[in-house]
């Protein structure tokens, strides 16, 4: 028996060899996996540990200011106070008192007394659970009363503190809203593209957007070593932000103010250019909005109000609003006819108030007709029949060739975002767009600036500049330091002068369409009226107590383009007034006042109430 036992023991002990091998295998697996983690994937995990350890805090650069040409500040920065919370202290007390954080007095006071958005606060506290020492921004741009509340409740607000920051401000509010634009918080997309840190401000529209790179400056950062809870342990590295560049614009404050005043209660836009350089002197779109709503984050209420407004205050009509040019287009048709030698300026056409073409009758705006009409009279009195004939001789594509040449149907290249191209129709365009041929009758309509053609006020301001400076296109610009670009179209001066002289007649000739509305004593203004008709069948007429009421939405838009002084033009203007009826009545006086204001500013117009 003992021998047997001895044998059994020896046999068992042999198994220990196997156990040794299993142990070896187990350790080999551990070492092998360790090799995988530390040697093969070591750099990857090292990177992850650095990412854990280092937290980068952005330092936002002060944004460049924007000035008008005289140094008035159109956009600046001012110190604001932001509210932060370090959630740790709140959580700690909640744990002690065994209450959820939304029942803690700090939370209740912040929501009820200081007016912090409850959802935003909750969201931040939830995010703060993992790293409770990271400060969370809970309210931006505190008001004075909020600041006072925070100060007086300080003893009860755990882990809450106020920090100073810079916020954009537009001192003139609505006045420059469309042209200067506004800044807002970067979108998540921007952050994901690694261009910006969250919380940074970028230009969203206007000059703020177009020159964002220049104005923004170069962001800096500070990297800190943090622990797992988000405590900052020690600074690691820092990059100092570079201040954004200031932008000096070509705008003129008094002119812009005048524009706003003139558009009080009206919808439309005005662009005033220096016709020799393309510098934008004034650019105003009405109605406007307060850009100061945006930098601190616009409230949902305000955002909805702005977007639901039927008058679309957020649209910059001066560059994005497109309208048929109406009779203003006759300038283009006249120049095309002259240059193409399809038009003899002295040849007279008899206007009887209407013209038969095919089986349709095309009417002149003057029912009784203009009688014998040459080019001068055709422009001065804006005779439709005269231009039906010119258009008929030229054909659509030849007119469009000149329209394109004169800058219509394409962007002018102004240094603003969201510029519209407008439409200059051609046969090809219509086939593509409507899958239909161009009807000859449409050419007649086109010749008086109605139908498919669509232009922006800035395009017509450039067109006006073209006639003002005697033959070259300018690129409108707002940056005072931008180089002046002139595009000589090579159209013979004598043709341009013929049209120019007729434009003078529009205002100076006693039969001119704008004679009674745009004439200014002591200064010779040249111009052209226009009425943009919105497709007539959409005019909805209602009768009420016997009066015909034209529903405003479908009424006619009034145009007036002008330049002055006639001999040596200093300003070119394009004005559009939506629902303004005929161009001469509502748009022309605005242009006149703008011109007067500018010439007064230039010292060319002495009398205060000249022309009135």
């Amino acid at each position: 028996m003992p021998l047997d036992r001895e044998k059994q023991l020896t046999r068992l002990k042999k198994r220990l060899e196997g156990f040794g091998r299993v142990a070896f295998l187990a350790f080999a697996v551990l070492v092998g996996f360790s090799f995988y983690l530390q040697v093969i994937k070591g750099d990857y995990y090292y990177f992850l540990s650095e990412k854990n350890r280092i937290r980068v805090y952005p330092l936002f650069p002060p944004r460049g200011k924007i000035f008008d040409r005289e140094g008035n500040v159109l956009a600046t920065n001012y110190p604001t106070f932001d509210l932060y919370i370090v959630p740790y202290y709140l959580f700690k007390e909640c744990r002690k008192e065994k209450i959820p954080y939304w029942k803690h007095p700090t939370f209740r006071l912040l929501v009820k007394e200081v007016g912090v958005d409850e959802e935003r606060l909750k969201d931040n506290l939830e995010k703060g659970k993992r790293a409770p020492f990271v400060p969370r921004l809970i309210a931006k741009g505190l008001t004075e009363s909020q600041l006072a509340k925070v100060e007086s409740l300080k003893w009860a607000l755990r882990g809450v503190y106020v920090d100073a920051a810079e916020t954009r401000r537009y001192p003139y509010g609505e006045l420059f809203a469309h042209v200067v634009g506004y800044v807002g918080e970067v979108t998540e997309k921007d952050v994901k593209s690694l261009k910006f840190y969250p919380g940074d401000s970028v230009g969203k529209t206007g000059l703020e957007k177009y020159y964002d790179e220049l104005l923004h400056g170069i962001g800096g950062w500070e990297s800190w070593e943090v622990d797992a809870l988000g405590h900052r342990i020690k600074p690691v590295a820092k990059s100092i932000p570079t201040k954004g560049m200031d932008l000096k614009t070509t705008l003129l404050l008094p002119l812009q103010e005048k524009a706003k005043e003139l558009f009080e209660g009206k919808i439309g836009a005005v662009v005033a250019l220096d016709p020799n350089t393309g510098e934008v002197l004034a650019l105003y779109s009405s109605p406007s909005f307060d850009p100061n709503l945006f930098p601190r984050g616009i409230s949902v209420k305000d955002w909805k109000r702005l977007n639901r407004d039927k008058t679309r205050p957020m649209t910059n009509r001066a560059i994005s609003g497109t309208y048929p040019p109406g009779s203003v287009f006759k300038l283009v048709v006249a120049l095309a006819g002259l240059t193409e030698k399809k038009l003899n300026p002295w040849h007279k056409i008899n206007c009887t108030g209407a013209m038969r073409f095919g089986n349709r009758v095309f009417r002149c705006w003057k029912r009784q007709g203009h009688g014998k009409t040459d080019l001068y009279k055709g422009i001065v009195q804006s005779c439709d029949v005269y231009f039906y004939n010119v258009g008929k001789d030229l054909g659509v594509d030849l007119i469009s060739k000149y329209a394109f040449m004169l800058g219509l149907g394409k962007k002018t290249g102004i240094d603003l975002p969201y510029e519209a191209k407008g439409i200059v129709p051609t046969k090809k365009w219509k086939r593509k767009r409507f899958k239909a041929p161009w009807y000859p009758g449409e050419t007649l309509n086109y010749a008086i600036g109605q139908g498919y053609i669509n232009v922006t006020p800035i395009q017509l301001a450039v067109l006006s500049s073209f006639f003002a400076n005697g033959g070259y296109l300018v690129v409108p610009h707002l940056n005072l330091e931008e180089k002046v670009k002139k595009i000589d179209l090579g159209i013979p001066k004598r043709y341009i002068n013929l049209v120019r002289r007729a434009m003078l007649g529009v205002v100076e000739d006693e039969h001119g369409t704008a004679h009674w509305t745009a004439r200014l004593k002591g200064i010779k203004i040249a111009g052209k009226t226009g009425t943009a008709q919105v497709v007539s069948r959409e005019i909805e007429e209602r009768y009420k107590k016997g009066h015909r009421i034209v529903k405003k939405r479908y009424a006619e838009h009034a145009w007036f383009v002008a330049f002055a002084p006639y001999k040596k033009p200093l300003i070119a203007v394009a004005v559009v007034v939506e629902h303004g009826g005929h161009g001469s009545s509502s748009a022309a006086p605005i242009a006149k006042e703008i011109i007067a204001e500018y010439l007064r500013y230039k010292g060319l117009l002495k009398e205060k109430d000249a022309g009135k």
């Binding site: 059994q8 023991l9 220990l16 350790f27 551990l30 983690l37 530390q38 995990y45 350890r53």
Partner: protein, 360 residues
């Protein structure tokens, strides 16, 4: 004096003791690097002193004493485990400690030893009666011996320790040999238990297992420990970040960096080279114990030493495996490295018992 002479006589394997102390020294050194001059290091040194006293105490008895009193230890351990459930201190979602004055006693650490001793006795009985390899009846007996421990620790709940009980019993059973049919039956039973058990796990335990299977699913909750632990180990690269330079541990990204997750702390500072050295020492330690087992003169000593050695082996493998993300996170300390009084003292006692069992 005679006793002491016996204790330190050449018949003891001093090699394993040397490795034991070497690893303990590395453990203390690592702890010293975590909290400079902190209370943990001082306390751990105290545990080692108490441990050495317990070690010498164990050596002053002979194996017959433990064999005779085995059921006393067994019942005592069960009593302590029941006490934990009644008066135990709740910590980290589980009741694991009994407060005795300034100390917190974790009875489950000592229960492992009691179980090993009990298993030694049971298997001796089997071997004397010629009931080896084990049939179904024997396996059921072994299961019955484990069951109180398993249930009582699982109720704390301390799944890691409960698992260790099962693994130790399984190791000894495999060592003794199991009949093929019984083995198949056992495996089937294990599957059923695993399936039913899953539905009775606490949410955090389920989460741990889910996190182990897919740590990246929710890196800030369940997978957080595993991911941070892996980052710590991996970021040590070949040469390590240097002593006390490990950012994952210094900045508290590793949870439980001085107890269950001390291995990542060490691996981050010393890199793959350090890990190789440490794991080599542990391997030597285990192989030394296997060598010692071979010196056993009777079945009782042999089975007991295997059971005691299995405690060390499974602790090491499970702890290192879980910190690397190879195994689910269960709260099992790394012997001789992890901070903890009960575990440290228990390790000394375990080693002492191993030496006592094979002493001539």
């Amino acid at each position: 004096m005679r006793v002491n002479k016996g204790i330190l006589s050449k018949r003891l394997d001093l090699g394993v003791v040397f490795v034991f102390f070497l690893i303990s020294a590395i453990g203390l050194f690592t702890l010293a690097g975590i909290y400079e001059g902190s209370i943990f290091l001082k306390r751990q040194i105290l545990w080692h002193v108490i441990g050495i006293a317990a070690f010498l105490g164990v050596l002053s008895f002979d194996r017959k004493f433990f064999r005779e009193w085995v059921w006393f230890f067994y019942i005592g351990a069960i009593a302590l485990l029941i006490m934990v459930l009644i008066v135990g201190k709740v910590g980290k979602g589980a009741q694991r400690w009994i407060i005795i004055g300034p100390f917190r006693l974790q009875p489950s650490e000592f229960a492992k030893i009691a179980l090993a001793l009990a298993l030694g006795s049971v298997f001796e009985h089997f071997s004397v009666k010629g009931r080896i390899p084990l049939g179904l009846r024997e396996v059921l007996i072994v299961g019955a011996v484990c069951l109180p421990f398993f249930i009582l620790t699982a109720m704390q709940p301390d799944l890691g320790t409960a698992l260790i009980f099962v693994l130790v019993a399984a190791t000894v059973s495999f060592f003794a040999g199991i009949k093929r049919g019984t083995l198949v039956l056992c495996l089937l039973f294990a599957f059923v238990v695993a399936f039913v058990g899953w539905n009775h796990l606490k949410p955090y335990q389920k989460n741990r297992i889910i996190a182990f299977l897919d740590p990246k699913k929710d890196p800030y909750r369940t997978g957080y420990h595993i991911i941070q632990s892996r980052i710590a180990i991996g970021s040590g690269r070949l040469w390590g970040k240097g002593y006390m330079k490990g950012t994952q541990s210094r900045l508290n990204f590793i949870p439980e960096k001085h107890t269950d997750f001390i291995f990542p702390t060490f691996a981050e500072d010393w890199g793959f080279i350090g890990v190789c050295v440490l794991l080599f020492l542990y391997f030597v330690f285990i192989t030394r114990i296997i060598e010692i087992c071979k010196r056993a003169k009777n079945p009782y000593a042999l089975y007991t030493t295997v059971a005691l050695g299995a405690i060390f082996f499974w602790h090491i493998v499970i702890n290192v495996g879980m910190t690397m993300g190879l195994l689910p996170v269960v709260g099992v300390p790394l012997p001789l490295m992890s901070y903890g009084g009960s575990a440290t003292v228990a390790s000394y006692i375990t080693l002492g018992l191993i030496l006592v069992m094979v002493r001539e």
